[in-house]
């Protein structure tokens, strides 16, 4: 499989009469863009707002982030989700780099939604503070979940994907400023030199805890709760085969943007043919029942072993009971003789004194840690809020609360906030961006 990303580096976004891209400037015809958003009659209100790095802006409740893209030669950028199924990962896809579509609730948030600060102390907690963001601030008529803590956010997330696809079209006919090529030969057809290197698989454990459909990560539109681990080409996964779900405390979540730009996959590609033979990706999940966890771990270990993997990197999208999947997977791989590194975050509590993962095993002896979900964060007010600040306190965001006996409410009258790291939008960046680690005091 050979995938080429044709990149366009967006340096500035503005509204104008015509949606176009020129010399690093993305101009958006707001009405036309909002018409795409409103194609779904469930969208009741919608507005576009631009948030730039350095702005004194707080964005909450953020539900999703997507990189605008366009598939050359036809077909949707999210096969099986926004349009018909097709193979992703082959051919050319044009990407608007340095920017993202952020899907923001106009009022209502939930357990799975997060917060972004575009400047100041809070900016370092999320990746998206360094991007030019097109915020789609919208509301829906999905009354059944308006007051629910767990939200599927279906209309909003799909509107975000349509908007990303609409914006991506502006570079359909243009010559990319830069081309990145990702190509792997079939596993058994590689040169002797490459085959002589240690073989490595990358295992992604996607969030799949909800039994009911609509919440979990999707692979080609398929609910990851209903899959068993399978072998996939990394190109598919960077090219829209997976989309983020709407479940899990937000800092542990992987947004669709993260999936599209997976830094660990890119680093493994860089090492391919030099220090390692990158076999590909084993896509796994994080179901709830113990038997499902064990089954997935066994499948992963078997696939890795049958492919001849010498090493593996396992990344976990979540914490709490998913730690049991993570540890089980690492343990089964190690038992199969596959040397394994795990990447995850921890939950050591506000005081730092809790056990880092709920399940542990001495075979998990090489772990990269990306942060503590329950670290307390206090931030000053921001001049502008995109969305609704009260959502952090009112709507059961995983790192917010309406009234803590000692700390008071998460959102204070002056607009300053106190929250757990949990509510930082995709803040722990276990797919590889995290420059956080954990140390003992």
């Amino acid at each position: 499989m050979k995938l080429q990303f044709g990149n366009f580096h967006v340096k500035e976004i503005q509204f104008g009469t015509e949606t176009k891209y020129e010399n690093g400037v993305l101009t958006i015809n707001k009405e036309e863009a909002l018409a795409v958003v409103r194609e779904d009659e469930h969208i009741t209100e919608a507005e576009l707002v631009i948030a730039r790095p350095g702005d004194k802006t707080r964005i909450v409740p953020v539900k999703e982030a997507i990189e605008p893209r366009h598939r050359i030669g036809g077909g949707t950028i999210f096969p099986g989700v926004t349009d018909e199924l097709m193979q992703a990962g082959n051919g050319t896809t044009h990407c608007l780099k340095g920017c993202s579509v952020l899907v923001v609730g106009k009022h209502w948030g939930g357990f799975q939604d997060g917060l972004i600060d575009m400047s100041g102390e809070g900016a370092k907690y999320t990746y998206f503070s360094q991007l030019q963001n097109i915020c789609l601030v919208a509301d829906t008529d999905e009354e059944f979940e308006k007051r629910e803590q767990q939200k599927k956010n279906r209309a909003l997330r799909w509107a975000g994907m349509r908007l990303a696809e609409y914006l991506g079209k502006v570079v359909a006919e243009l010559q990319p400023e830069e081309v990145e090529t990702f190509e792997l030969e079939p596993v058994t057809k590689r040169t002797a030199e490459v085959q002589a290197l240690p073989s490595v698989v990358y295992v992604m454990q996607l969030q799949s805890q909800m039994e009911e459909s609509g919440y979990n990560d999707l692979v080609y539109g398929w609910d990851t709760n209903h899959m068993v681990p399978t072998f996939m080409h990394p190109n598919e996964l960077m090219d829209g085969a997976i989309i983020s779900g709407s479940f899990m405390p937000c800092s542990s979540k992987w947004s669709t943007y993260d999936m599209q730009n997976n830094p660990t996959m890119k680093r493994l590609y860089q090492e391919h043919g030099k220090t390692i033979n990158f076999l590909g990706v084993i896509l796994s999940n994080l179901n709830v029942a113990l038997e499902q966890k064990q089954r997935s771990a066994l499948f992963v270990a078997q696939i890795a072993k049958s492919l001849g993997a010498d090493g593996a990197i396992v990344a976990e999208e979540g914490y709490g009971n998913p730690d049991a999947d993570f540890i089980a997977c690492v343990v089964e791989l190690e038992k199969a003789g596959v040397k394994t590194v795990g990447i995850t975050n921890e939950c050591t509590g506000r005081d730092g004194g809790s056990q880092p993962l709920v399940a542990l095993d001495e075979l998990a002896n090489a772990i990269v840690s990306c942060g503590n979900v329950s670290e307390l964060i206090e931030l000053p007010p921001m001049e502008t809020v995109i969305g609704e600040l009260q959502a952090l306190a009112r709507d059961g965001l995983s790192g917010g609360w309406d009234n803590d006996p000692i700390l008071g409410p998460s959102v204070r009258e002056d607009g300053s906030i106190i929250m757990e790291n949990n509510a930082m939008f995709c803040g722990d960046r276990v797919l590889g961006w995290s420059t956080k680690t954990m140390v003992e005091y």
Binding site: K124, Q150, V200, Q209, P249, T264, R267, E271, T275, I276, V288, D310, G311, A312, I313, G320, N321, K339, T340, V341, I343, E346, C347, T348, G349, R350, D351, G352, G353, Q355, P356, L360, A364, N365, A366, I367, V368, C370, G371, N372, V373, S374, E375, G396, S398, W401, P405, E420, N421, V430, L431, G432, W433, T435, K436, T437, M438, V439, E440, Y441
Partner: protein
């Protein structure tokens, strides 16, 4: 200028050797022995105003009295920080430093700092509760060890950023927090580099050392179930509808107990779950799936157990810190003991 007080044993307090280890606690204004060096090292930020001296055996065999006396000395004294030792490899001295530091911290809520060699048993006993700096094996390391304590004390007193245990040089206290790496290295680079090292058989350092599990002694089996009172406890968040105790649906710090002495079955509309970590539909429709009161009642009627306890106990397990969970566990255990409960079925979700 901030004020510091130092604790020493009879030997370093220049009273005498082993033969004077029964020396009762005393406090002296000014500097004795290592206090001179400590005060010098603290200069500019703090001075040592008093030295406390106590014989190691006195502290060992009359610990309560010794601590009470020393806390009495400190009552009414102005001080911002408390030091003890360094104790090097001396076991009794290390234990004494640990005990007095712990007591001073609890009573006066000031920072406490001590220093011990890694073979000093005091390290294992007290490292989770205070800053114990990694010290030398003998008094030859005095200057270095005092300097380490003083440098860190100054940082605390001036509000400077405190680094990790490893960077500062004290024994890790079991508190893990997130930091940003400087220079920044991404998790993808750390992960791939770690894997390459592991594949080559080279040394690497995990960022999450697996702690040794610490088990509690197994409680004895119930001899005669048919006479036993059995209680149900749960971390699944089952509460009466309306959540009267306002238990949090995640990161809980509260627990509730609910009288079920008149109830045989938890029915829909009366009980529900407030746990945010899973789909609540099943538990809201029938809370017995988490708190199996109906089944336990059946065993009570059949005579398999003596009695179902009057209350069941409930909290929420998701995101709850171990510290909070342990506290709630202790509180519930105390009630169970007082009520004469013999056995507990705990359901977790």
């Amino acid at each position: 200028m901030k004020k510091a007080i130092l604790y020493l044993n009879q030997f370093f307090g220049q009273i005498g050797g082993e033969e004077l280890a029964d020396h009762a606690p005393e406090i002296r204004e000014g500097l004795v022995g290592p206090a001179l060096e400590l005060s010098k090292q603290l200069s500019g930020v703090a001075e040592v105003t008093h030295t406390i001296i106590c014989g190691d055996n006195f502290m060992g065999s009359n610990q309560e009295e010794a601590i009470k006396t020393i806390l009495g000395f400190l009552e009414g004294k102005e001080f911002d920080i408390f030091f003890a030792g360094p104790a090097f490899r001396a076991g009794r001295y290390g234990s004494a430093c640990g005990n007095i530091c712990k007591a001073v911290k609890e009573k006066f809520n000031v920072p406490v700092i001590t220093s011990m060699n890694d073979e000093n048993p005091g390290v294992e006993m007290f490292k989770k509760e205070m800053y114990i700096f990694e010290g030398g094996a003998s008094a030859a390391a005095m200057r270095k060890d005092v300097m380490a304590m003083a440098q860190f004390g100054k940082k605390i007193l001036t509000g400077e950023e405190l680094l990790s245990a490893k960077e500062e040089g004290y024994y890790p206290r079991g508190e893990r927090h997130q930091i940003w790496l400087n220079p920044p290295v991404s998790a993808s680079d750390r992960g791939v580099d770690m894997l390459i090292k592991k594949l080559k058989g080279e040394a690497y350092t995990t960022e999450l050392p697996i702690p040794k599990s610490d088990l509690v002694p197994i409680a004895p089996a119930i001899k005669d179930l048919s006479k036993a009172t059995v209680a149900i406890a749960t971390s699944g968040g089952i509460v009466p509808v309306g959540n009267p105790d306002r238990i949090q649906s995640a990161s809980a710090t509260k627990w509730g107990k609910y009288d079920v002495s008149e109830i045989d079955d938890l029915v829909k509309g009366e009980f529900m779950t407030i746990h945010a970590g899973f789909d609540p539909a099943a538990a809201n429709a029938d809370s017995d799936v988490i708190v199996p009161l109906d089944a336990l009642r059946a065993y009570e009627k059949a005579g398999k157990i003596g009695k179902v306890h009057q209350y069941f106990y409930s909290t929420v397990g998701t995101g709850t810190t171990q510290g909070e969970a342990a506290r709630m566990g202790r509180e519930i255990a105390a009630e169970l003991l007082a009520d004469g409960v013999d056995a507990v079925i705990l359901t977790s979700t």
